[in-house]
Amino acid sequence: MILIVNTTTDRTITENLHAELMKKGFSEARTDESDGKKKETYEIVEAGERKISPCIGCNFCWLKTPGICSIKDDYEEILKKMIHADQLWVISETALGFLDHKGKNIYDRILPLATMHLHFKGKQMRHYRRYKQKTDFGLIFSGDAEKDYLEKWNGRAALNFEAKSLGVFSKDEIKEAVTCML
């Protein structure tokens, strides 16, 4: 399953994605019961106007209520979907050459999907994943950004979860992004 989280309020990006994915033969997760055939599914979460607070670094999700974030807002629904996702695509506005804070908050709040425990994996010290599901990361941005840096960052962010980067694309490169979806 592909999970697409749109942190912008620009619905034309997700409309374009939707159209491209349908062309590719994907179906939306919630409509996947029609003909009984297994299809690759995707789900789009419009998070641009949802309440998603920043991570406050309390560490409760590691040490007090393992796997559960102490902040009660609209993020929990996204987190629950992530543990079933093969791919997570975040759509974000940019600021100061990077993602804007709404986009970054989606990543900062992923921490409940890791445990407190650490190990060395290849060249990196990493937290263990809490769930078996491995989720690769893709990024679609809207606005000016330091793209080379974003690509590097997305790769590193994915590494935290022993996953890989699916690439970084501007909103004008939706077709290219869709070629990297499953």
Binding site: C55, A95, G97, K104
Partner: protein
Amino acid sequence: MHALIINGSPRVKKYSNTDKILEKILLGMKESGSTGELYEISDRKQWEEIREKFYHFDHILIAIPLFVECIPGLLLEFLETIPARSTDRKPVLSFLLQSGFAEGCQLRCGEEYLQILSGKLGCEYGGTLVKGNNFSIRLVEGSDREKIVLPYKEMGKIYGKEGNFFSVDCKKFTGPEQFPGWVRVLVGLMFKTLAKKSFEKTAKEWGCSKSLKDRPYA
């Protein structure tokens, strides 16, 4: 030198590891005859004052805990609201980047962004003091905490004197970029024994009754 010092951690001051580090930086600065005004991003009530003062200092230091390879969302939210520089004064913006991960290589991606960020904010880059292995600052007290934070005083002295983190001593302060193989084996063993026990002890003290590997949404 009189610097604007911003704790960029979203964690409240009382439990902020970055705050404990900055206490020592400020002590060191004082020994060099410098001073600093400390503000906390975790307290939104302070944002307006920091915004007003931002371009009125020649030196700004932002101290940051590494959050998913870069700066925390809350700090980003604040920085997005800083108005473009309208004065001729171009402050030297330096950073202190700290993390739980111990090896220097873990912080380089975040460090790379900080150089980009200083340019975007119209400041001159004053370098980044990079140091890991700070996760337990909030979990320990007394001499155990001092052992971790005291070395930052020396770095504060250098910052107070030079107004940046470009010196060789600041670069060395990071420690090993990557542990040698035998250290990795030892540290790996420590994760499975001592560290595991210590985390479980903390969890119990915090009222946790579940396994730290619990899968609540499985």
